[in-house]
């Protein structure tokens, strides 16, 4: 049988929590321990006094003062706050899990789940992208064409300039050659005529001299 302290045994007895074994121990202690028996008797007596105690009436007092003196309950002490926070957390989790989305587009509110686009939305997005791509391509083509045209113009101009310059130069050279040739011809002619004249002079003067010589002779 476990041994109980007097205080514990008396406490359990006063609480009415004694089991059969403890009750036996309690009764045995009352028989064996006179001091404990007296304590039990005192507890009984005091319990009796307490039961016979006449509750005294409360004198008049300002009950409303306890209400007026108090402060307003702060909003964060609101009892529903914890429930509200749990509910909002659940809603938030639901929104995250389901991919909940609200869209306002041209005056129309669209609520969607699973973070997926509708077929109309998808078509519109594809069309938008295609148009954008087309526009970009057109602009790029225009720029390329303009650049090509400019290059051709530049090349044609340069070619013309070159042809003009080179033909002028050739003509000048040709003329120079011609003049040179003519000059050479003239020089040759002059030489020829000079030789002819000399020849003629020789021819003219040579017989006369011969005759004179003959006549002198």
């Amino acid at each position: 049988m476990p041994s109980y302290q007097n205080e514990q045994l008396l406490g359990m007895w006063l609480d009415g929590q004694l089991n059969e074994q403890q009750r036996q121990a309690f009764e045995q202690r009352c028989l064996d321990d006179a001091g404990f028996a007296q304590q039990v008797e005192a507890a009984n007596m005091f319990n009796l006094h307490a039961q016979h105690y006449v509750e005294q009436e409360v004198p008049q007092w300002d009950r409303a003062a306890t209400f007026d003196q108090t402060e307003k309950t702060p909003w964060w002490h609101w009892q529903g706050l914890s429930g509200l926070s749990i509910a909002l957390s659940v809603v938030a989790m639901f929104m995250v899990v389901t991919g909940f989305q609200i869209k306002v587009d041209e005056g129309a509110v669209t609520i969607s789940f699973a973070d997926k686009h509708s077929s109309q939305e998808l078509e519109r997005l594809v069309n938008d992208k295609l148009q954008q791509y087309q526009l970009e391509q057109q602009l790029a083509m225009n720029r390329f064409t303009q650049s090509l045209q400019q290059q051709q113009l530049d090349a044609s101009g340069q070619l013309t300039q070159y042809l003009l310059t080179s033909s002028r130069k050739e003509r000048r050279e040709d003329f120079a050659e011609l003049i040179k040739f003519i000059n050479e011809q003239r020089t040759d002619d002059q030489l020829f005529y000079a030789r002819q004249l000399n020849q003629l002079q020789q021819d003219v003067y040579s017989p006369a001299q011969t005759g004179m010589n003959i006549s002198k002779e």
Partner: protein
């Protein structure tokens, strides 16, 4: 007549319903007042203590979680208010110190009327240290179990039992003298 539960009155009082608070207060003012009389031995002090207890209860009403009974919660506040009350009155005394009885201010017919038994009982209780008096009060008048007393006062159930045992020993002597 249908009587509203404590929880309903508390909810209404928290919404600012004064009448609900007054009704709740009327329901518990008598036990708290008598608790004060037995703990302090004086009507005036009991009235002051009761007022302090109810002001404190209302201020903390929003924190009442309804995990236990309102009565237990109320008496827990009353217990701590009572300790504060004693500390203000006798700042040098400890919880286990035996109070000095002031003969001229001791409870007498002038202060505590009603039955002679009441007076003798209260007189005897005033000679106990506060810690023992609290246990006796909560056990015999509040009808709390030792586990509940432990929860109310913050001491262990075994300590409460020891204090009750010691208190009974003193009360036995005191009341024998008084009743002799």
């Amino acid at each position: 007549m249908f009587e509203k539960s404590d929880e309903q009155l508390i909810a209404k009082a928290l919404q600012g319903n004064k009448q609900a608070w007054i009704n709740l207060l009327k329901r518990y003012e008598k036990p708290i007042y008598n608790y004060g009389v037995r703990m302090t031995g004086k009507h005036e002090d009991a009235l002051d203590l009761m007022q302090e207890v109810f002001i404190s209860v209302y201020r903390n009403l929003a924190t009442f979680r309804q995990e236990g009974s309102f009565k237990s919660w109320l008496f827990r506040i009353a217990h701590y208010r009572c300790i504060e009350f004693y500390r203000r009155k006798r700042p040098m005394d400890g919880l286990d110190d035996i109070p000095e009885i002031e003969c001229e201010q001791a409870p007498s017919e002038q202060h505590i009327d009603s039955a002679i038994e009441n007076r003798l009982l209260i007189q005897a209780m005033q000679q106990l240290p506060l810690a023992q008096k609290s246990v006796i009060e909560l056990k015999f008048f509040g009808q709390f179990t030792f586990d509940e007393i432990a929860e109310l006062t913050g001491m262990s159930a075994n300590t409460a039992k020891s204090r009750m045992y010691g208190a009974l020993e003193k009360l036995k002597t005191l009341m024998e003298v008084d009743y002799a």
